[in-house]
Amino acid sequence: MKAYFDHGATTPIDPEVLKAMTPFLKQRFGNAASLHKLGREASEAVENSREAIAKFIGAKPEEIVFTSGGTESNNFAIKGIAFAKKKGHLIVSKIEHDCVLNSARWLEKQGFEVTYLSVDDEGFVSPEELRKAIQDDTFLVSVMHANNEIGTIQPLKEISKVCREKGVLLHSDACQSLTKVSVNIDDLGVDLMTINSHKIYGPKGVGALYIRKGVKIDPYFSGGGHENGKRSGTLNVPGIIGFGKSVQINHKVGHVKKLRNIFMKGVEKRISDVKLNGPRGDKRLANNANYSFKYIEGEGLLFRLDSHGIAVSTASACASNTLEPSHVLTSIGLPHEIAHGAIRFTFGKDNTLQEVEYVLDKLEKEVKELRKMSPYKRGWK
């Protein structure tokens, strides 16, 4: 049996999405910038996609700029706004994706000032703490909508209220939350928002940045002036078509949540000494469960599950290039040895109850085996 529980990393392409894309990889291969019929057809299809995506997040089509994915959109948003401002201060949370954090660190080297805002033990940013961190020269706040490791959904509405009052732009990385919870830009109150396709059953290498009308941003890619001069480069037509379709398919969020809840109940009933990382309830992404299995190490458990055809992910120190646990787990205050045994399970629309039972069985077995091997099986020293 095979069971994929790593939908937070990426998802398979939905058959309907693939079907929509295929003609644009074959006979309808035109460049959307060409004036002839093939080009106009491609351009028209791109604009339909733009409209679908805009509608899905409550934006106007002209506020959507297509990019090569989440990483580019985050770089574009943060560096583009900073360079339009020339100087000043920005705030990002400590648990942002690396592409946000490293963009901020790069800006620091260029002379900008950055505050890395702390989160609480469930990963929440406090709007009040944010208010205190805003300075006279703060021009941008970037707080992700939902965290990719521990599923924390930020109180963006409250955060945006603070930003509005202070006259500061708000950017949010919504790669993980898109299609799982409502990401209406006006409800959330964001000025810029990053989304991508491969987390929602669309192809890899395509995403978008929502930029509220009137927001001044420097282009990140200079060139032939595509996307109204905001992002040059020949459009990834098949990718964009796939992305447009992927917001329209059935994401079965109810089903996913049900499976995730059955899984969580199973883990907590059948395995002792586990700790849920991140919050419980509606403030957690419906597809995410992240547990630390005490006394064992995550990379080992991942490979044991992999040997049964089960795919999960870990942010353990041993699995990282720096041999440090992930910045998310340390930011929520996990001690080193608890971060060590953290495994993320992210569920998807095509998972079944049978697969959940299968993973629970194998998980129980392998945790037991690895604990037998651990000098800590009777507790920490």
Binding site: G300, S307, C318, M373, P375, Y376
Partner: protein, 129 residues
């Protein structure tokens, strides 16, 4: 992480895993880089005047590579004289596994140190008697 076949074999079915009752030496070492822990238990007998590692077991809190190196270390030194065992270093351990990813070499150092600590503990106990 691209682990070789041999590493994964030792990891999934480790040899000599567990504790020894009444061991002659125990080595407890930690990995300062990632925070892992390895305990090595040894039992020593005398054969023709030489000290021989009669039995060896391990317990490890660590990654795939840490567990696989613990396991292969026990294979490498079981039945060897103390002299021979002390010559086994982390490169031998990694070699016996068909190589390790570069970033995982430090785990094999833990195995070498674990064994040396166990032998040191054995010698310390001898002095006390």
């Amino acid at each position: 992480m691209n682990y070789g076949k041999k590493v994964l074999e030792h990891f999934t079915k480790p040899h000599n895993m567990g504790e020894l009752k009444n061991p002659d030496g125990v080595g407890k070492v930690g990995n300062p880089r990632c925070g892992d822990e390895m305990w090595i238990y040894i039992k020593i007998t005398k054969k023709r005047g030489e000290e021989v590692i009669k039995d060896i077991k391990f317990k490890t809190f660590g990654c795939v590579s840490a567990i696989a190196t613990s396991s292969v270390l026990t294979d490498l030194v079981k039945g060897k004289t103390m002299e021979q065992a002390l010559l086994v270093d982390n490169k031998d351990v990694a070699k016996a596994l068909g190589g390790l990813p570069p970033i995982k070499m430090h785990c094999s150092v833990l195995a070498e140190e674990g064994l040396k600590a166990a032998i040191k503990d054995y010698k310390k106990r001898l002095k006390k008697v």
